[in-house]
């Protein structure tokens, strides 16, 4: 959208004028801008960490029609960042829960719920009829599908992604000269090189920051104000509290938006770089009995206790190297290569996470002690405390 030809500019009711008063007094928005927002149709793909703040702020701002695409149900582990939902929504459909919350927030809007996983077959139909698309998905396959559908429909794609303490935000809008997602990232990473939030973690406020930036870009695009984040990739490092802006340009050779791009050709993903499924091979587990035997025979692996100091003080297996899980990525430099590393924790959960992290770091021969120190105390050495 360039702001010069909004699809519709419906009149505001008296209730709406009161509701949006603080926005109406902004000279950059005013009554005409608010009418553009009311006439806008925005599709939000993914109603999770990013989609939550996007939807909440776009609904509050008065975007007249919001389409919501998600196939998932609300899980308890979503609640630390997916602020659309409460405990009462656990196990409910995300789209239905979201629409219910948003209707309560702003009764002047209309919503379309699409309980579906976006893919190459349905993407064009979902994108069609919308002025702006917001990408808040959590996987590469969806990101490329959304990009390609937006490029072909000429619809701006307001995109963000998050991981751990970092976020990336941009507007991909090649119809108006900027790059598309494929121009910047031509292919997804191979499996295993890009962990998901479920594996790598994400700090809860991060999607709040990135998602509100996305909502801001949508409002700018609809109202035709400011400078859109097209041609720029904004990154945010939450630990350093540092924003960076990188210039990105359209790639004339891009298969999606380049000069020779064929709109009829299915693009898919680069087969040499399959989408990261993040389901790496299972971590092998060692029993406490096998560990006991290997210690007696002098063939034991390198034992790495990934618990914190307090827990190690309660109970421990002798001979372990201390390397708490929250520092293992950095401390792993001290570990030798070429030797089996056995990660140990209280009951065998965190040790699998630690082993997976070490594998990501290039340590191929890693394992986890099944049942952890607790199993060792119960079945091998009763002098070790159980807690």
């Amino acid at each position: 959208m360039d702001g010069s030809a909004p699809p519709t500019m419906p009149e505001l009711t008296q209730d709406e004028t009161r509701r949006y008063g603080r926005q109406l007094v902004l000279s950059q928005i005013g009554p005409d801008g608010q009418r553009r927002l009311k006439g806008a149709r925005v599709l939000v793909v993914g109603s999770g960490g990013l989609g939550s703040p996007v939807l909440l702020y776009l609904a509050a701002a008065g975007i007249g029609h919001l389409g919501i695409v998600d196939f998932d149900i609300v899980d308890m582990s979503n609640l630390h960042r997916q602020v659309l939902f409460t405990d009462a929504d656990v196990d409910r459909s995300k789209t239905e829960s979201a629409a219910e919350r948003l209707r309560a927030q702003n009764p002047h809007l209309s919503f379309a719920v699409h309980e579906a996983r976006i893919d190459a077959d349905n993407a064009a139909g979902l994108v069609s009829g919308h002025d702006v698309v917001v990408d808040g998905t959590d996987n590469f396959a969806a990101r490329y599908v959304i990009n390609d559908a937006c490029v072909r429909a000429g619809v701006p794609n307001v995109s963000a992604s998050i991981l751990r303490f970092e976020a990336q935000v941009s507007v991909f809008d090649p119809a108006r000269g900027g790059p598309c997602y494929r121009c910047v990232f031509p292919a997804p990473p191979p499996a295993g090189l890009a962990p998901s939030c479920a594996e790598a973690g994400v700090v809860g406020v991060l999607p709040g920051i990135a998602g509100t930036l996305q909502a801001n870009e949508v409002i700018k695009l609809v109202c035709g104000i400011g400078t859109p984040l097209a041609g720029r990739l904004l990154t945010f490092d939450a630990l350093d509290a540092r924003f960076r802006t990188f210039e990105v340009a359209r790639d004339r050779g891009c298969v999606a938006c380049g000069d020779a791009a064929d709109p009829a050709r299915p693009l898919g993903l680069n087969p040499e770089a399959a989408p990261a499924t993040c389901h790496a091979a299972a971590i092998p587990e060692m029993t406490v009995e096998a560990l006991s035997r290997s210690l007696a025979e002098g063939t034991a692996p390198l034992l790495v206790d990934v618990r914190g100091e307090a827990e190690r003080g309660i109970a421990a297996i002798p001979g372990c190297t201390a390397m708490p899980l929250d520092t293992i990525e950095i401390a792993a430099d001290a570990l030798p290569t070429g030797r089996t590393i056995l990660c140990i924790c209280h009951k065998g959960g965190r040790s699998i996470t630690a082993a997976r992290t070490l594998r990501e770091l290039g340590f191929d021969d890693v394992a986890s002690l099944a049942g952890g120190v607790d199993a060792w105390a119960a079945r091998i050495d009763p002098s070790v405390a159980r807690y």
């Binding site: 998905t137 959590d138 998050i162 890009a194």
Partner: protein, 92 residues
């Protein structure tokens, strides 16, 4: 001359936690990249394909401007240049 390579938080664990790696005497992108992965070998698997090319999912920027793949590895670097790697992320 000295150039600086900036690493995002997602790559720092593979570079002993360093966020900025200063390299002396490297006047091309290819030379700087070689020096980087020599100093931090575990970065190689994160940045480079088996043929030694930068992965398509890793954006490379020199002084905040994107470096075209066609310009690698011969792109000349000057004293004070900052090279940034920005890998794609998919979390949402």
């Amino acid at each position: 001359m000295t150039i600086v390579i900036e690493l995002p938080a997602t790559l720092r664990p593979y570079a002993s936690g360093e966020s900025r790696v200063a390299l002396d005497g490297e006047d091309s992108f290819g030379g700087a990249l070689d020096a980087l992965v020599t100093r931090h070998p575990r970065l190689r698997k994160r940045l480079l394909t088996s043929s030694g090319a930068i992965y398509d999912f890793v954006g490379v920027f020199v002084n905040d401007r994107r470096l075209d793949r066609d310009d690698m590895p011969d792109r000349a670097l000057s004293d004070g240049d900052v090279v940034s790697f920005v890998p794609a992320m998919a979390g949402g």
